[in-house]
């Protein structure tokens, strides 16, 4: 089946089986390698992308369910002001260890900050606890989210 997709503001096409998860369309068909495969069962969050601005697990989202919704991936999140600030904070605070989960963490963090521009620790815990980090960079992730929130507050 041919699917017309809106990804990071570009119109792209993929000819794949309807049950193909969005993750594999991104990675293998469209060669966007930033979104990662971790568990395949919506357990780890490494494959988090935005569908019409909302975080979803691309490993369990069949391409047939995407429809005309716009997809944002880690490759495109820097086009967004909050996304860019999150990327910057991630670099300044040296958040990654291995870095494999961080695309998903950044996508989750951007969603959280859009919902709660000044999140409390509890809101960060609630918003980020479905994104696992095997290296356990959680202290830095939390600090980076606070840093973005503070920067936004100070204008």
């Amino acid at each position: 089946m041919k699917y017309a997709l809106s990804i990071n503001g570009s119109q792209l096409e993929a000819d794949v089986d309807p049950d193909t998860p969005l993750l594999w369309v991104l990675r293998d068909t469209l060669k966007l390698k930033g979104t990662k495969f971790g568990c395949g069962m919506s357990l780890c969050g490494a494959c988090t992308v935005h569908l019409d601005g909302k975080p979803i697990r691309s490993c369990v989202t069949p391409i047939s369910a995407v429809g005309s919704k716009s997809i944002t991936t880690i490759e495109g999140i820097g086009n967004d002001t909050v996304g860019q600030k999150v990327q910057q904070a991630w670099k300044i605070l040296d958040v990654p260890q291995c870095g494999y989960c961080q695309a998903g963490q950044i996508m989750a963090a951007v969603s959280l900050l859009k919902q709660f521009p000044q999140p409390t620790d509890q809101q960060i815990d609630a918003g980020m606890s479905r994104n696992l980090c095997r290296c356990a960079t959680y202290h830095r992730i939390k600090a980076a989210i606070h840093q973005v929130a503070d920067a936004v507050k100070e204008g």
Partner: protein, 718 residues
């Protein structure tokens, strides 16, 4: 500090401008291969290259698994080179032990193996740049200074950038590394500074870096379906129906002694291969592992404990007499489970077999070993295999084993076009090299003053045909060996067919739990404060420390962590603090955990204090903090959640059954390093072992109940 240079490697510091005219192949993706015009790049050593436009290229010799080595070791070269870190570009070194020495990531060994050598390599490159400037300006070398990539001649005010001097520098005689002058550490401007990872920009933009991201022209995708029982083999399989499915290019049985038996499916896309696999009809010959299971292992341990150990591994004094003479004898049985690595990037390897040569793009912690294993699997010479090391989505010891490189080699040779093998998460959990489980039956005897006089352990571990499984052994020098006048360690083996291997702080991650918990039990039985008890043990006048272990360094970290954590101050009801220390991978760590238990028995870890001594320098404080916090939180995941039950094979398929600590369970972790006048050692591992017993000891302090088996079960405290 002693020099650990291998004299045989010195010739690689011979510089050559001619190399600057060569073609430099990109590190793993063909589309980032680049050519250097003749004379535009100066190669000062295998480790350092300076381009005409001023980029200082430094090789990262060790594989990057998240331990930060790709940032920290190049920092060491940059420091002594006196270059500007902003001008540095770090490249992953090719696999070449002649040029780069040790190139594996394991055992917290990369820093101690390379720290001193990298200082000297950096200093040698700087020296050559100085010689070039002295030659050009006809001034004495001693009149020149360097700063941030520029050579200055103070007297005349002249200056030249390293880039301008590079070609002339490459023609200089390379200095003797052993005698080269190093910076005074007081002048360090990069070592000791918080430095963000060199791949961070690529990471936050989702650019390809990892093994799983490798993309080659006309590449196919492969999966291998294996028997869920360890060692099981394909008996019959219907390949014809698989071959008929969309996108499937190849389906064949792999059945050789070099890798696990299985069915390989190769398709245009990974999803097609994975989907086809779900329709696969295989009959397995499950073999003798079918009979084994965890409940039976537990029973066998109890039976073995009733007999004498089959082997005595350490014997000091006379434990039998000392137990008979003891004022009090304390006995306890401990157990810990098999656990999996669960590194987040699933196992993968990309391979291309072409004209008798195999090229691999491999996320491997041990590339040279993988190169040999892949060569052997397809019967070719090791020189006919090229390994390109990619960044890894976690290692933790899993990728020290290169089974997947051999598998990729076998598939690539069969299909003859580039192919990426990728396991799914269930493959990863069910075909791991597990941290072995184990059982310890301890006995300790104290005298009327509460001093430890006798200590014994009957360790029941796992073996195959009487040989201890990999990473399932125990060190004869395990503390308190050397600190008790009468001590005996014995071991017995349960027969098992289970692949085992190294997991972050191998053996120590289990021994820390059992020994430091048991010593806490003894302290309480002696009516002593656990900190005071352990300090007194370390300071015994009759102590005979083993294998370079320094009781002074351990006592120092213990005392400091006690101070930091207000050890001894009262805590609220159902709260407790526990303390533990452990020496592993040349690092000394003491940790205090404060934990609480609610009415449902749920354990909450509230705060952790960590003090470590890894010698003189912390190269990158950011990476160092990461390693300590990561190791400590990994220890909590092990203590609170993780086990792999065995029933023929591993009864774990994904992260819901082998959990990882999530953001909402993460406590504050306060870390301090004691800088001591000792060689700088590694940080990947030594912070992990103490946290598990410190937590269990805290739970005892909170509830009076002793955790003697992992993972911790809430029922115990309800």
């Amino acid at each position: 500090m002693t020099t650990t240079l291998n004299p045989a490697r010195r010739h690689f510091l011979k510089a050559s401008a001619a190399i600057g005219g060569g073609l430099f192949l990109g590190l793993y993706l063909p589309n980032i291969a680049y050519a250097a015009e003749a004379g535009q790049m100066a190669v000062l050593s295998a480790h350092v290259r300076i381009t005409a436009d001023g980029v200082i290229e430094i090789m990262s010799v060790a594989p990057e698994i998240g331990q930060g080595i790709k940032t920290s070791l190049p920092m060491v070269i940059c420091e002594e080179l006196d270059a500007d870190w902003a001008q540095v570009s770090v490249l992953q070194a090719p696999v070449n032990s002649d040029a780069f020495g040790r190139q594996s990531a394991g055992g917290s060994r990369s820093t101690p193996a390379h720290f001193d050598e990298h200082r000297r390599i950096g200093a040698a490159a700087r020296q050559m740049l100085l010689q070039a400037a002295a030659e050009q300006w006809q001034v004495p070398l001693a009149s020149l200074t360097t700063q941030a990539g520029i050579v200055h001649h103070g007297a005349s005010g002249r200056q030249l950038s390293y880039a301008r001097l590079a070609n002339q520098a490459a023609r200089q005689q390379s200095p003797d590394l052993a005698s080269i002058t190093l910076k005074n550490p007081a002048d360090f401007s990069l070592i000791g500074q918080f430095t963000s990872g060199v791949d961070n920009d690529a990471l936050v933009h989702g650019r390809p870096l990892f093994g799983i991201d490798v993309e080659l022209p006309s590449m196919l995708h492969a999966v291998i379906h294996k028997c869920p029982v360890f060692g099981g083999r394909v008996k019959t399989v219907d390949l014809a129906s698989i071959n008929a499915l969309p996108g499937i290019r190849h389906a064949f049985v792999i059945d050789t002694s070099s890798v696990d038996s299985g069915v390989a499916i190769v398709a245009d896309s990974w999803w097609q291969a994975e989907k086809a696999r779900r329709q696969l009809k295989v009959q397995w010959d499950e073999g003798k592992a079918k009979q084994q299971n965890s409940a039976d292992f537990d029973k066998q341990a109890q039976q073995l404990w009733r007999k004498a150990p089959s082997q005595i591994t350490q014997q000091v004094g006379n434990v039998d007499k000392a137990f008979a003479d003891a004022a009090k004898v304390i006995e306890a049985e401990y157990a810990y489970p098999f656990i999996a690595h669960g590194q987040l990037e699933p196992i993968n390897c990309t391979a291309h077999w072409q004209a008798g040569h195999l090229t691999l793009w491999a996320p491997t912690q041990n590339p040279a070993s993988g190169q040999r294993q892949a060569a052997s699997a397809i019967g070719i010479d090791v020189n006919d295999v090229t390994v390109n090391v990619t960044r890894m989505g976690g290692g933790f010891g899993r990728r020290l084993f290169n089974d997947y490189m051999a598998e990729a080699a076998i598939i690539a040779k069969q299909v003859g076009v580039p192919v990426k093998l990728l396991w799914n998460r269930q493959d990863d959990f069910q075909h791991d090299y597990y941290r072995p489980g184990g059982y310890h039956k301890f006995k300790a005897g104290i005298d009327a003053q509460g001093q430890l006089q006798a200590f014994s352990d009957h360790f029941v571990s796992f073996g195959n045909n009487g040989r201890t499984l990999l990473a399932a052994g125990m060190h004869a020098a395990e503390f308190p060996t050397g600190f008790v006048p009468n001590l005996q360690f014995g071991s017995s083996l349960i027969e098992a067919q289970i692949p085992t291997g190294w997991l972050r702080a191998p053996t120590s991650n289990a021994m820390g739990f059992v020994f430091q918990s048991m010593l806490d039990e003894v302290a309480h039985a002696a009516g002593q404060d656990p900190l005071a008890f352990q300090l007194a043990l370390l300071r015994r006048s009759d102590a005979k420390p083993q294998n370079g272990f320094s009781p002074q360094r351990m006592a120092a970290v213990l005392e400091r962590v006690a101070e930091l954590s207000d050890w001894g101050k009262p805590v609220p009801e159902f709260h407790g603090k526990g303390i533990a220390c452990y020496y592993s991978h040349a690092g000394y760590f003491a940790e205090v955990v404060q934990a609480s238990v609610n009415q449902m028995g749920a354990v909450k870890v509230e705060k952790i204090w960590v003090v470590g001594d890894v010698g003189q320098f912390i190269v990158n404080p950011s990476g160092a903090m990461h390693q300590v916090q990561g190791a400590v939180l990994e220890g909590l995941s092990q203590a609170l959640y993780q086990q792999v039950l065995i029933d023929g094979g591993a009864q774990v398929s994904n992260y819901h059954q082998h959990k990882i600590l999530a953001m909402n369970a993460v406590p504050e972790v306060e870390v301090e390093f004691l800088a001591t006048d000792n060689p700088t050692t590694g940080l990947g591992e030594p912070a992990l072992p103490p946290v598990i017993p410190a937590l269990c000891n805290a739970l005892f302090a909170a509830t009076g109940k002793r955790v003697r088996s992992l993972p911790i079960k809430a029922e115990m405290f309800a």
